[in-house]
Amino acid sequence: MVDRLSVRRRLRLPPYLLLLFPAVTFMLLMYAYPFVSSFTRSFVGSEGNLTLQNYAKTWDLYLKDVVFTFSVTVFSTSVTAVLAVLLAMYLRFRQSVISRMLVGLYKLPIFIPFVVVAQMMNTFLAPHGLLNLALAQIGLVNIDKPLELFNFWGLSFGFVWKMVPFSVLIIHGGFQMIDNSYIEAARSAGASRAKVITRILIPMSKSSIMVALVLVYSQIVGTFTLPYMLIGGKIPTTITVDIAHRVNYFRDFGVANTLGVFSYLLVLATAIYYLRSSVKRVAEAEPSRR
């Protein structure tokens, strides 16, 4: 009896360790370990030795695709940013029947999985797809020369389509958190609506806008489904498609991981920003003391 008590007193393990153990172990095994692998494996050559040959090969074969990925991402993110901010501003300032309808309507693409979006875009953007059909009917497109969209433009359209609603959700949320009194104070000081937006609203919601952009940017870099089903093996294509090819046709984990490292480099800046600001934000919202 006495022994058991003293054992319990010595083993005063905090309860949260037990609660966290399964989740953290799982993440370490299933995420952290493969993540580290993606770096280490990129330096392992075909003979199992440590080498830089993967990087050389990637540079030769896939540099164009890295550039392509980067440009699609930057382009789509920029367009998304502009559209999302404009739409969020409209929703913040305008209270009408139409704006309320839009508030419900715009969220739809958020809930549609990328596979379905890919298929939608396949049918919509095809040379004989609905978009070309509609444009031909209006006369904007020549029936014999429909728009070829399974490329940079179609891919960007797909990304913007999926990402704008998600961004509006976050940015509009940020706008709404700004109490009206800040806006009214500016207007009573003589600011026009435009000045209120640029000098007050956007600076005060900078964090929401940045988070939305960062998430959009890294999601686009990492998306496999859409480029795979839309562009596939055509040249140029995205890093994600190249990785799939390397794995499925060549079982070449060396180059595949090197490509992975390239994609990590593309998101390095945004990832650091995101991780730093998120951890800071969650740390500031103190958990209830126990």
């Binding site: 104070a185 009573s188 007050i200």
Partner: protein, 357 residues
Amino acid sequence: MPNLTLDHVVKSYGKLRAVDDLSLEVRDGELLTLLGPSGCGKTTTLRAVSGFVALNGGRIFIGQRNITDIPPERRGIGLVFQNYALWPHMTVFQNLAFGLQLKKLPKQTIKKKIEKSLAMVKLAGFEDRYPRQLSGGQQQRVALARALVLEPDILLLDEPLSNLDALLREQMRFEIAQIHKQAGITSIYVTHDQTEAMVISDRIAVMNQGKIVQIGRPAEIYSAPASKFVAGFMGTTTFIHGKVSGTARERIVVQTDSGLSIQGKGEQLAAGDEVDVAIRPENIRFLTTPADIRKQGKENTFEARVTRASYVGELVDYQLDLKGSLLRAKGETANPLSEGTTIHIYVEPEQLSILKA
């Protein structure tokens, strides 16, 4: 300094008339307070003047200028908010400079005006601080400075002290009154705190359900309330219900339901009218010696029983039972009365308001 005129202003939300045909003139340089309970329409009226609420009827003038249809940013009105609304991403200097920069004033002028404004609110040297580095009271003073630095025609203050703790609120009341005197801007102040209203206002407009029920100087509102509502809103008041039994020498004599005969002052009352007698704690005098009782005579002298005595620091708060009506009274801390004691009280008729029930 121009005056501010509201002419038959109406604002409805669906069937509810938040501001109900309200007309008001705020005189040049005066500070007028809109005082009333939540939902009386005081804030809506203020926001109509600032331009953030569109009217359903009526007009608003600054001096001769009709501003009814002019958007807020062109009305030239200074606003002070309950939550200060200091832009957190700007320093104190930048907060104050914002409006001045929009007017395209030269840098030197802006700097000078800001210095003057900050000095007026006793925050000289705070230019480079951020709002989060300031206390509540300091933030409120910056908000005031920001409104004043633009030298507006009209200043509107929407319950600016409600977010401060009691001690700070009391201090800030005097400061605001002083700053207003210095600046001399025609102002409207909104609050639900009647003590605050009395301290700082030149005139008070008591509002209820979208209408002004009484308007006048603080002393008038307090000592000569026009209705039971106003009397009950200002200070602690006990009402005793009764009927007018007669009028004698400008005095109204009331026979209360409990059988007392009370004399007080009132207007436009005739025998037989149902009335409420409004008694304030500070008007109840204790007659402690038999000599006092005899000297006073029968008029307005009553016998009451002490039902509660609470020591509140600088005085004793009593609850007295006067034939069924519970009165609040104040007494000195020396020789306090204990519960259960019967004492004689006297109320000066001049200080009792008889109001139509």
